[in-house]
């Protein structure tokens, strides 16, 4: 394989050279534990505070409202379980959506088994939550609304500001899983009335194993990880100084280059979507075309199955992912594709291609040409396509 075209940037991203350089001294030289008393460690504590400040600035928060974690999943778990526990005397009802990441969905299911009640709001055919429906789902016992900022599979950006306003008006905490959105779309926690926000380093060219939970001052939330007094006594565990410093550098780069990245990526995204829909029959795009992450392409190809498609793409040097059941180890295809109303058999034939600012027009065109060949080949082997053609033929005759 001469060249690899990496189109799975929603899964993870490459660490930017600037990020790696920023982290390096804190792995090789300044390796001290920031909680220690001596000056050697004190210097690092100062750098961690600086990083916290940078991250806070990226979402309009205060430095003391940022709590570093091991990643998006931990942040989601903390926000949901933490509020559920802290407000258990006030109520037991949580509102979320059907298309959340499993870090949110499985946490909600965990709470359901422990007596909490959860409303999973449906979404429309583009994956959008209806704020009116959300408002109607609010009960006197509702203690938390948790709706993702942008969907990881289909890239749909939810009406977060509107949801935040509703939550605020009803005096209910609002958490958003912004793992796919942080550093990709502008976020202001005050303007959007967000009380808690989860984010992760490795989705924005930062390192893996570091994330944060933003918690608005005054929010009642129980700790999740118990132990030492790190993170202002809210989250135990030796401070991941290098990871945090790298994450902050990545956030800085993402925010300062955001406008340019969005313009560049969405141009390529629309070229990719446009060419596929035009040149490959019986394909459809999943997710909202406008309220969409700038790097997300999600397409269903009828009569073919996603895993076969991914292996053949891989053989041509293209890394992608699919909502097919075969790639998840279960019999059901993606819960997101089912929630937007796709029948199982069509959801099996989906592919997600997520671009980065390193993706080129040449990569996009190569991907389209490769897809055309692969889809042709798989359809040639597909009994569903055979039946479809026969049916069409009979209909015409």
């Amino acid at each position: 394989m001469d060249k690899m075209i990496y189109l799975d940037n929603a899964a993870t991203t490459k660490v930017a050279p600037e990020v790696f350089e920023a982290m390096k001294p804190y792995l090789l030289e300044e390796y001290g534990n920031p909680s220690s008393a001596y000056a050697f460690s004190g210097r690092i504590a100062g750098k961690v505070t600086e990083a916290r400040d940078k991250i806070a600035g990226a979402i309009g928060a205060k430095e003391r409202e940022i709590f570093f974690t091991a990643g998006g999943s931990e942040s989601d778990n903390w926000a949901i379980k933490g509020v559920a526990d802290a407000l258990k005397d006030k109520g037991n009802h949580i509102i979320t959506s059907a298309i959340e990441h499993h870090a949110v969905l499985h946490t909600c299911e965990f709470l359901e088994k422990r007596g909490y009640e959860v409303t999973y709001l449906p979404v429309d055919e583009n994956g959008l939550v209806d704020p009116k429906e959300l408002e109607a789902a609010i009960r006197p016992s509702t203690i938390l609304i948790t709706i993702m900022f942008a969907n990881n599979e289909i890239g749909t950006i939810e009406p977060i500001a509107e949801i935040g306003r509703i939550a605020h008006e009803h005096g209910i905490y609002f958490h958003t899983d912004a793992v796919q959105a942080f550093g990709h779309v502008p976020i202001d926690v005050n303007e959007m009335n967000i009380d808690m926000l989860s984010a992760s380093g490795h989705k924005i060219n930062g390192p893996k194993g570091v994330g944060f939970l933003y918690i608005r001052s005054g929010t009642k939330i129980t700790n999740l990880i118990h132990g030492g007094a790190q993170e202002y006594g809210r989250r135990a565990g030796t401070t991941n100084a290098a990871g945090i410093i790298g994450f902050a550098r990545a956030a800085e780069l993402a925010v300062s280059g955001m406008e340019e990245t969005i313009a560049y990526e969405s141009g390529l995204r629309d070229r990719l979507i446009g060419r596929i829909l035009k040149e490959i029959p019986y394909s459809r795009v999943n997710g909202d075309l406008k309220k969409r992450l700038s790097n997300n392409v999600n397409i269903c190809f009828r009569f073919v199955e996603g895993e076969s498609l991914l292996i053949l793409l891989d053989q041509k040097g293209i890394c992608a992912s699919s909502g097919s059941a075969c790639t998840s180890g279960s019999l059901d295809p993606s819960h997101v594709l089912l929630a937007i109303g796709l029948p199982h058999e069509i959801a099996h034939g989906s592919v997600r291609l997520t671009l980065s600012k390193e993706t080129t027009e040449e990569d996009v065109d190569y991907t389209v040409e490769t897809l055309k060949q692969i889809i042709d080949r798989l359809r040639g082997m597909s009994p569903l396509y055979e039946d479809f053609l026969r049916k069409n033929h009979q209909a015409r005759a």
């Binding site: 295809p333 009994p383 569903l384």
Partner: protein
């Protein structure tokens, strides 16, 4: 996704270069098994001569890498066998011939066995004969109308 690393070389070979893809016109027996909802449909065509020997086998499959590889291997294994011998091409035999399958993909080999049985059943019915040991196929194919309305 880690399927590629979990597949044996033989599975990858039969997936990348599947044998006997296609249709047989006026086939002696045709069988379709599987369920599009679960993501696998296999159709097998058999050409069987007067001596009840499988002369030709072809397939079409909608499914994952393992589904395509097991279809390909199953067609290879039934060719040249008598209709009774063809029943020895079990899911185990297909799996062994492919040097094994990842645990979550074992159902694909079962589907291959069912496809052979369904095609043989079709042949037996058309010719009004009984193949000893052959049971009616489990046909759970579900091609809902909405599939055609995208």
């Amino acid at each position: 996704m880690s399927q590629v690393t979990e597949y044996s070389e033989k599975v990858m070979d039969h997936f990348s270069n599947p044998r006997n893809v296609g249709e047989i016109e006026n086939a002696a027996g045709v069988g379709t098994v599987g369920n599009a909802k679960c993501g696998d449909i296999m159709r097998m065509y058999l050409d069987i001569d007067e001596d009840q020997i499988v002369r030709e086998a072809k397939f079409k499959t909608f499914g994952c890498g393992a589904a395509i590889a097991t279809s390909s291997m199953a067609t290879e294994l039934v060719k040249g066998k008598s209709v009774t011998e063809a029943l020895t091409v079990t899911n185990k035999a297909v799996m062994e011939a492919l040097d094994g399958l990842p645990p979550v993909k074992i159902h694909c080999s079962l589907l291959a066995e069912q496809a052979i049985h369904a095609a043989l059943w079709d042949y037996a019915e058309k010719n009004n004969i009984t193949i000893e040991g052959l049971k009616p196929p489990v046909n759970d194919i579900d091609e809902t109308e909405e599939f055609y309305q995208m």
